[in-house]
């Protein structure tokens, strides 16, 4: 690490309305280093990264590369300087194939025969395989799972061979094995002299891969530390400004009667193949059942069927001794099934609406919220205010569009809506995805709280730590089938990993 820093931020300021998202930030990135940028949800990490990639224009301040000031007015300028970014909210065109997304922006060749596209598709698949993040490049992105989309987003950035790589939470939906693969690739790129800056909420990953660590809080840069001279504990304390309060512990507890019985349920996915293949699953009251598996092995369909969003082809589903005839969202809600979907900003919340409206969308027709079809406006505001306080959602005001809230606060708002009605079953898909340590603890406490009340949770997650911490039983899905099941006491990380890979 000698010579001039590859990238330097000098008193970088970015203001959004009244929010100072980046408050005179100074930071320098050396050539050939992996630099981790840490901070709570809403600390300003993405903002700082987006200023480097040309998406946000700084209100004031300067960016220097190799010692000279550069003007980055657009993503195109950034690309010319060899800067590429993996976005937290993927920048992918859903209607195009993965390969088309990767080559997007290249104007040559102008003519594109089918043969050329096929060759590119194979080339991209080979690159993806080489970096350990494979996906079907010929498939439209809309048909890929979130995990696969994350892989496309990363490969898209690697494909361009940039010299400065910005990765904004690249691992939040990757499995631990995939994350390890990614880090191996990053280390290789680092040895080639590339500069890498990344964010993640998983401190373990930071300690494993980063050379230096910078911590932000509320738009300000607090400190830059050497990985070798710090600890997870010190970083966590810097991030939240205080010592982390220990999460609730999970008390052993006898499960109750069966609540949900799925018997040989087969689901045909949008792609036409069997997403779930004769899956049988029983969930008892007061139990957290974890579903482990690599993205795209039927988890999405499982959640959708139970939420009333997807038809199933054969098999029976019995919930509270009532046998389902067909999918019905209203029916699922009425029977007390709550759903925290994986894509919270697409099917979870309406980004342009405020907190009140988002809290109302599942209960607006109830007698408490509406009178003869007219919303009880004043009452609903009070009710929303209560929920927002109870769940510690931090928002500028009740009517501020939820898309402007940080990821953690969005998730807390979604949980508030889903659990305040005391559901019998909560389906939580990647509930702590993209959340900082504090918010993750809050979500875990909410789930354990439900369990303590005798309610059930179906926890779909790729984070084995989370499953091992919370679930009474862990069921592994592979290629739409149940590969095996383990109780909390017997759970073994290695064996789970094998089952997730389809090895019995």
């Amino acid at each position: 690490m000698d010579g001039l820093p590859a990238v330097e931020f000098h008193n970088l300021v970015k203001q959004f309305g009244t929010v100072l998202a980046s408050d005179h930030v100074n930071l320098s990135l050396a050539k050939g280093e992996i630099h981790a940028l840490l901070g709570e949800n809403g600390a300003g990490k993405s903002t700082v990264m987006c200023m480097l990639s040309g998406v946000y224009r700084p209100t004031s301040g300067e960016i220097r590369m190799n010692g000279t000031a550069v003007k980055i007015h657009s993503p195109k300028d950034a690309a010319k300087l060899g800067i590429g970014m993996v976005f937290q909210n993927f920048r992918l065109v859903q209607t195009l194939t993965a390969a088309e997304n990767v080559v997007l922006g290249d104007s040559s060749p102008f003519w594109r025969t089918r043969r050329w596209m096929e060759r590119k598709t194979r080339e991209i698949e080979a690159l993806a395989l080489r970096v350990g993040l494979p996906f079907a490049a010929g498939r439209p992105v809309a048909r890929l799972s979130v995990g696969e989309q994350q892989r496309v987003e990363i490969v898209k950035c690697l494909y361009r061979g940039n010299s400065v790589l910005i990765l904004d939470e690249p691992t939040s939906v990757l499995t631990p094995a995939e994350a390890d693969q990614l880090f191996a690739t990053l280390r290789k790129l680092k040895s080639e002299g590339k500069t890498i800056i990344l964010t993640t909420h998983k401190l373990k990953e930071v300690m494993a891969v980063a050379d230096r660590i910078s911590v932000m809080r509320k738009g300000q840069m607090l400190a830059t530390l050497d990985r070798a001279q710090t600890s997870e504990r010190e970083i966590a304390r810097l991030m939240v400004g205080q010592d982390r309060s220990p999460p609730k512990t999970r008390v052993p507890r006898e499960p109750g009667e069966p609540l949900l019985i799925m018997d040989k349920v087969t689901v045909v996915s949008d792609r036409g193949r069997h997403a779930l293949d004769e899956v049988s699953l029983t969930l008892n009251t007061g139990e957290i059942v974890g579903i482990a598996g690599v993205a795209g092995n039927g988890q999405k369909e499982l959640a959708e069927v139970l939420a009333g969003l997807h038809v199933w082809k054969s098999g029976t589903i019995t919930f509270r001794e009532f046998r389902w005839k067909g999918p019905s969202v209203r029916g699922s809600i009425k029977q007390g099934i709550a759903h925290v979907p994986e894509d919270r900003m697409i099917s979870g919340l309406a980004g342009g609406l405020g907190s009140v409206d988002n809290l109302l969308v599942k209960s607006y027709h109830s007698d408490e919220r509406a009178n003869l079809g007219f919303l009880r406006t004043a009452l609903n505001r009070l009710w929303s205010q209560g929920l927002v306080e109870q769940f510690d959602v931090r928002t500028a005001h009740l009517d501020a569009p939820v898309k402007q809230m940080s990821g953690g606060n969005q998730q807390k708002l979604l949980f508030a809506r889903e659990i305040h009605q005391r559901p019998h079953l909560l389906i939580a898909v990647h509930p702590s995805q993209g959340l900082d340590v504090g918010a993750t603890d809050a979500v875990h406490n909410l789930l354990l709280g439900l369990r303590a009340e005798g309610r059930s949770v179906l926890l779909i997650s790729e984070d084995l730590d989370e499953l091992l911490l919370l679930a009474d039983r862990i069921v592994v899905l592979f290629a739409g089938r149940v590969m095996g099941e383990m109780t909390h006491e017997r759970a073994d990380r290695e064996q789970l990993g094998m089952m997730m890979a389809g090895v019995t």
């Binding site: 959004f16 990639s53 998406v55 946000y56 224009r57 657009s74 993503p75 195109k76 690309a79 970014m85 976005f87 909210n89 920048r91 992918l92 065109v93 859903q94 209607t95 195009l96 088309e100 997304n101 080559v103 997007l104 922006g105 290249d106 104007s107 040559s108 060749p109 102008f110 003519w111 594109r112 025969t113 809309a142 980004g351 898309k403 402007q404």
Partner: protein, 299 residues
């Protein structure tokens, strides 16, 4: 057989002006912008063609003038909707009202003066005579089909219309592409009006498009944003239009008002049919249609 070829020729003649407008609409919507000004642009194209041709008797000059007028009105729409982010529906409606009024005013002096032999025709043997507009509309279908689906330009245009935020970070100039599409598409819309005037009914009359611009906007959806689809849709519509007219001439007992309604009714029927069959498929409509793009806004 004789009658059939006649019917077909008439169908193509009636469908070709619509084809220009529909292709223009597809181009603009592919970039994510709604252009409801088609009717106004057609009228402005027609009145420009009539005025300039009567004054100069030169086809190239006339066509250039029509393209210029269409392009300028397109530029106005692009400036309002892309740069100022005005409501696209309102801007389009304003353009239609403005075009209707202005064309009526400008055309006062030339109302009822026929243009004859303005457009060269080529003999294609059994296929009969094909005029320049029809020929170029066919070429245009081929060019656009290739441009949209087999070039990097087409891929970028689709990205801009489906997800401008992604297109932007991939280094595509979103606003530039949108300007280009709106201007080029509006030129085609003007050309459709000129075609209607110079080939189909060669006399300027106020409001002579009688709602064709609106039909073209419906045909964009009907054609599912595909140039070849547009060709089929426009000729089909032209056929229905001609059929109604012929039946009327043949002294059918059906009231003429009903016959005039026929193409529109059948269009609705076909839309229902197509919609029914494709209701479970993903819509082909550009996903960011009608939504202005602001780089720093969260989505």
């Amino acid at each position: 057989m004789e009658l059939f070829t006649q019917l077909l020729t008439a169908a193509v003649a009636s469908g070709t002006p619509l084809l220009f407008v529909t292709l223009g609409g597809i181009f603009i919507e592919k970039a994510g912008i709604i252009q409801l000004g088609a009717e106004g642009l057609m009228l402005m194209g027609a009145v420009t063609a009539a005025g300039v041709y009567l004054a100069t008797s030169s086809l190239p000059v006339t066509l250039l003038a029509v393209l210029l007028v269409g392009g300028l009105l397109g530029l106005l729409h692009a400036f309002l909707t892309v740069t100022l982010r005005a409501n696209q529906i309102v801007s389009g409606l304003a353009l239609t009202l403005f075009g209707g009024g202005l064309s009526a005013y400008l055309g006062k002096a030339i109302t009822g003066i026929p243009l004859s032999g303005a457009v060269p025709k080529f003999d294609f043997g059994v296929l009969g005579q094909v005029d320049l507009f029809t020929l170029s509309s066919l070429a245009l279908v081929v060019v656009l089909q290739i441009a949209f689906f087999h070039t990097s330009f087409g891929l970028h245009l689709k990205a801009v219309g489906d997800n401008p935020a992604t297109a932007d970070v991939m280094g595509i100039r979103v606003q530039g592409m949108r300007y280009f599409a709106v201007i080029a598409g509006s030129m085609l819309m003007g050309l459709g009006g000129a075609n209607l005037l110079m080939v189909f009914s060669p006399t300027w009359i106020e409001g002579m498009t009688t709602g064709r611009g609106w039909i073209a906007i419906a045909l964009v959806i009907f054609a599912r944003w595909n140039p070849l689809g547009a060709l089929a849709a426009c000729w089909f519509f032209g056929f229905l239009d001609t059929l109604g007219f012929r039946l009327q001439l043949a002294g059918s007992t059906v009231p003429p008002y009903f016959l005039k309604m026929l193409p529109y009714l059948l269009t609705i029927a076909v839309l229902i049919l197509v919609g029914w069959r494709t209701q479970h498929r993903m819509s082909r409509a550009p996903q960011a249609l009608g939504i202005p793009y602001i780089r720093e806004q969260r989505f």
